[in-house]
């Protein structure tokens, strides 16, 4: 009861924040762009194939099968995980940070802290609000993805829809891990800049620095769904760095899992982390534990001077 009351209040506050809303709109727009890219590429290949079929038939030559039918249908959405790991994760960070900072800014932390509500319950409520907000983001992404898939002449099977649901669940887990991390940092560190900066630095390191160190994937390559899935360069430095840092290279683990789920993983490409799914869930659970502890022990005085 109390948890849902705080969840409702937190989400109402988020909905009224123009900055957060703008970020959500940008995320939705970029997801739509990624879907359009897949839709456009598929239609282009189909159009070229159609012309080739006409020409080959006229020549009396054998008509090869449509290459798009050789590719899993979800591969047309290969840009989606990129936007989830970039904009989605960043939007989750901003939401997580705002959930705490809005209350600190409003000076209501002492008012909540002096109410007969256990601080652990308040922490759970904030986490739940974050998870609902990221679920909303991933639902938007899913809706756009479904519209794109339905508008293409693809042969979607039940298993493909299941794979899409699994890919979206992975995306929600990935985004939420960053959101929870931001929720924890916002509670632990006082001030908008400090909390946001700490979570953003971790996000930048995981998104750009670690892939560069483990696989020479530079930032430009990292935002390309194909070039991000690169083999480890055959040098001793990358060999050891990928072994050392691979298990914590979360964005690579996420990219690999999404590529495998959506059917565009290059053949024979091994993940950097030995167990990428476990790594992703551990990151989620670790972030959740950090967020819970930081929010449970959050100074209800809001850092004001005594």
């Amino acid at each position: 009861m109390t948890v849902m009351l705080i969840v409702r209040q937190a989400l109402s506050g988020i909905v009224r924040d123009r900055g957060v809303l703008l970020l959500v709109v940008i995320f939705a727009a970029m997801v739509a762009v990624s879907a359009f890219l897949g839709w456009s590429a598929t239609n282009t290949v189909n159009a070229i194939y159609g012309q080739a079929v006409d020409w080959l038939t006229a020549q009396g030559a054998v008509v090869p099968p449509n290459p798009m039918h050789q590719t899993p249908p979800l591969a047309s959405l290969r840009n989606l995980p990129v936007y989830i790991s970039f904009l989605g994760a960043f939007a989750a960070i901003v939401i997580g940070q705002e959930l705490v900072e809005a209350e600190r800014r409003a000076g209501v932390l002492p008012l909540i802290g002096s109410r007969p509500v256990p601080h652990g319950r308040v922490a759970v409520a904030r986490m739940l609000a974050l998870l609902i907000a990221t679920a909303f983001l991933i639902t938007v992404a899913g809706a756009v993805a479904i519209l794109a898939l339905l508008s293409l002449p693809l042969q979607m099977q039940v298993a493909d829809w299941g794979a899409l649901a699994w890919a979206l669940l992975l995306g929600w887990t990935y985004m939420s891990a960053f959101g929870l991390l931001a929720l924890g940092f916002a509670a632990r560190l006082q001030g908008t800049a400090a909390g946001l900066l700490a979570a953003t630095v971790v996000w930048l390191a995981i998104t750009f620095v670690l892939p560069a160190l483990t696989g020479n994937v530079n930032p430009t390559a990292a935002i390309n769904p194909v070039s991000a899935l690169a083999l480890v360069p055959d040098t001793p430095v990358f060999h050891w760095l990928s072994r050392l840092l691979g298990p914590v290279s979360l964005s690579e683990a996420f990219g690999w899992l999404e590529a495998r789920t959506m059917g565009y993983l290059p053949e024979g490409l091994a993940p950097r982390a030995p167990l990428p799914l476990l790594g992703l869930w551990l990151a989620f659970v670790g972030s959740a534990a950090f967020a819970f502890h930081a929010n449970k022990t959050l100074d209800p005085n809001g850092g004001c001077d005594a």
Partner: protein
């Protein structure tokens, strides 16, 4: 067991203190505030008044000593203490993007008020701010916010009300209205613990006073026990006890 007899103090501190490492924020403080009193806690900025309120409202945990508020121990019965207190911090701001009614309904429900809507209406009427109910708090002046802040503190009809510098930044009408409110609440049996550094506020509203200097209680008595009590006499007394403490 809770002693509900009228003689039990609403607030009882026994050697309550707080340290941050080697820094003593509040020296051991022993003090009783009887029920239905308006206790004025005087002291200059940084004397430890806000720290004391934060300890009593369970927002801070004491390093030594004990205290009971409304009959409950602040460390072992924090939930019961919170259920029986109202708190108006200094410079209360509230949720800017929400209306007065939305703010108050949230805090009423958080305090476990059953019929929150009806209670919010009652308190809005009582404080004369019904016309602000559907306006966003972000557009309010300091005085208007303070009234809404007081409303959130009394929504659940607490036994003890903590006010931290309640008249800070208020215009004369706001101060007058707050004083009337304090008098009414006291008449209804509420105990009020008020931090202030304004002697006029103490002179007009309080039934007992305590003076805190450098984290120590240097004076505590009933207002009625101070001979020739008025604002000027209070000022002389305040300066005298603080100087003695400074000299010591």
């Amino acid at each position: 067991m809770i002693d509900a007899s009228p003689d039990t103090p609403a607030i009882a501190l026994r050697g309550l203190s707080l340290r941050y490492g080697r820094h003593v924020a509040l020296h051991p403080l022993t003090l009783d505030v009887p029920k239905a009193e308006v206790f004025g806690f005087l002291g200059h900025n940084g004397a430890g008044k806000t720290t004391t309120i934060r300890l009593l409202t369970t927002l801070l945990t004491p390093t030594e000593g004990a205290a009971r508020v409304a009959g409950y121990d602040i460390t072992t019965q924090a939930m019961q203490v919170r259920a029986n207190i109202g708190y108006l911090p200094e410079n209360v701001r509230l949720y800017d993007r929400f209306t007065t009614r939305e703010n108050l309904t949230f805090f009423a429900r958080l305090s476990g008020v059953q019929d929150a809507r009806r209670r919010v209406d009652e308190v809005l009427e009582r404080l004369g701010i019904a016309d602000l109910s559907n306006r966003r708090v972000g557009s309010f002046s300091k005085g208007m916010r303070q009234r809404v802040g007081l409303a959130q503190a009394i929504l659940h009809d607490p036994q003890v009300l903590f006010l931290d510098e309640p008249t800070s930044g208020l215009d004369p009408m706001g101060v007058r209205h707050l004083r009337q409110m304090i008098d009414q609440l006291r008449a209804e049996g509420m105990t009020i613990f008020m931090n202030t550094h304004l002697l006029s506020e103490v002179a007009s509203s309080c039934t007992s006073i305590g003076v805190l200097a450098h984290g120590r209680l240097v004076f505590h008595d009933k207002v009625s026990a101070i001979a020739g009590y008025d604002e000027r006499r209070l000022e002389e007394l305040y300066v005298s006890v603080v100087r003695q403490e400074d000299a010591a």
